[in-house]
Amino acid sequence: MLSTLALLASEGEPSPLKPHTSELIVGLVAFTLLFLFLRAKVFPMFEKAYADRTSAIEGGIERAEKAQAEAQAALEQYRAQLAEARNEAARIRDEAREQGKAIVDQLTAEARETAARITARGEEQLVAERQQVVTQLRGEIGRIAVELAERVVGESLADDERQKRVVDRFLAELEAAPAGSGETR
């Protein structure tokens, strides 16, 4: 190699292997400045763009996942609410049915009670009135009968004891007799 170089040099041909000092310096300076400039002004911007892009994509995915989770949660919530509402409605229906039944039962019982009370009072009244009528009639009939008998027999039955016995017997007969014959005087 060296001999070739020497040969080239001796022939006046410049050697392509011999670096020129000025070229070394100019190249080195240009390269160093280029490197410093690109490192300071250009490459950080590209890296930032890469990072932004990555975060934008990741952020998008994250947002989408979050939205999906939210939608899922909302769906679950709606389903739960719907189920709850259905249960509630069923419960309310049942309650209403029970309440209605209870009201009907209560009213029926009340009505029955009222009817019974009215009936009982009516009966009592009837009994009392009848008793009163009977008592009144008993006195009246007695007097009328005695009067009648006095008139018929023409004799005064002064003796109260006997008179009372006669009346009782008469009344017993009267009671035993059918109602129709009693009317006739």
């Binding site: 070229e23 070394l24 080195l28 400039f37 250009v42």
Partner: protein, 262 residues
């Protein structure tokens, strides 16, 4: 570029290393030459394009941002993360600068009016290789300690000991000398050879058509000129590929230095 090569009818001068030497732009002996202009223009272009792409970087990228991010993301995901792993993120700024710098200076070989790959000047790949070399060695020493770094490098575990006699010096030589030199030379001479072949096709075609003339000359020269167009596309592919290779190898060396086991 105009070369007074095929003039005076004195036959065809094949292009050679002297076509890679340029006179100073401001006076013949001034230090500032065309390759340096290309280096400065290329660096400026990379800086401006990237700056415009990143100026209003947004979550949803525009066209410019998308293009810038594609280049950056290619180095970041396909080179740094693949070759180094998640620790590679720290070295993406260097690797991305390296890739775009080399790619643009390579592509200057097929850009009209520039038409010279600045990376075919060995100074450019050389200092890049030296930076990469310094970075991966520094990382290895910081990560594994000075002794540990050399021990892991020269005596990787799991190998029968007699092999070390052969392996240790080879590994040492490879890591410290061969790697930076091959990095620099691979890039330099891929660009050098590509440019030389393009020159040969273009200048040869020109010579055949205009100086040699005749039916044979015109036909052969046309084929040569047409071939130069095809070669230009191929050259573009090689230029991008070599930028990728340089960056990928740097990433692999960094990854190797970071790994505790060899």
């Amino acid at each position: 570029m105009s070369f007074p090569l095929a003039a005076d009818g004195e036959g065809f001068n094949s292009p050679g290393p002297r076509d890679f030497e340029f006179p100073g732009i401001f006076g013949h002996d001034s230090f500032f030459t065309k390759p340096m202009l290309i280096v400065l223009l290329g660096s400026l272009l990379v800086a401006v394009l990237f700056y415009l792409a990143a100026r209003r970087a947004q979550t949803v990228p525009g066209k410019g941002q998308f293009a810038g991010e594609s280049v950056y993301g290619f180095v970041r995901n396909s080179i740094a993360l693949d070759a180094i792993g998640h620790e590679g993120l720290k070295y993406v700024p260097y690797l991305a600068t390296l890739f775009s710098f080399i790619a643009v200076l390579n592509l200057s070989g097929i850009i009209p009016f520039l038409q010279f790959p600045a990376t075919s000047r060995i100074a450019i790949p050389l200092f890049l290789a030296i930076i990469s070399w310094a970075i991966y060695n520094a990382i290895g020493i910081r990560r594994q300690g000075l002794v540990g770094y050399f021990k892991n490098m020269m005596f990787p575990p799991g190998i029968p000991w007699p092999v070390y006699i052969l392996l240790a010096p080879i590994e040492l030589f490879s890591t410290f000398f061969v790697r930076p030199i091959t990095l620099a030379l691979r890039l330099t001479f891929n660009m050098f050879a590509g440019h030389l072949v393009l020159l040969l096709f273009v200048l040869g075609g020109e010579y055949l058509v205009f100086d040699k003339g005749g039916i044979v000359g015109v036909l052969a020269g046309s084929v040569s000129l047409f071939g130069s167009i095809v070669l230009t596309f191929f050259e573009g592919f090689v230029q991008l590929l070599q930028a990728y290779v340089f960056t990928l190898l740097t990433a692999l060396y960094i990854g190797g230095a970071l790994a505790d086991e060899h």
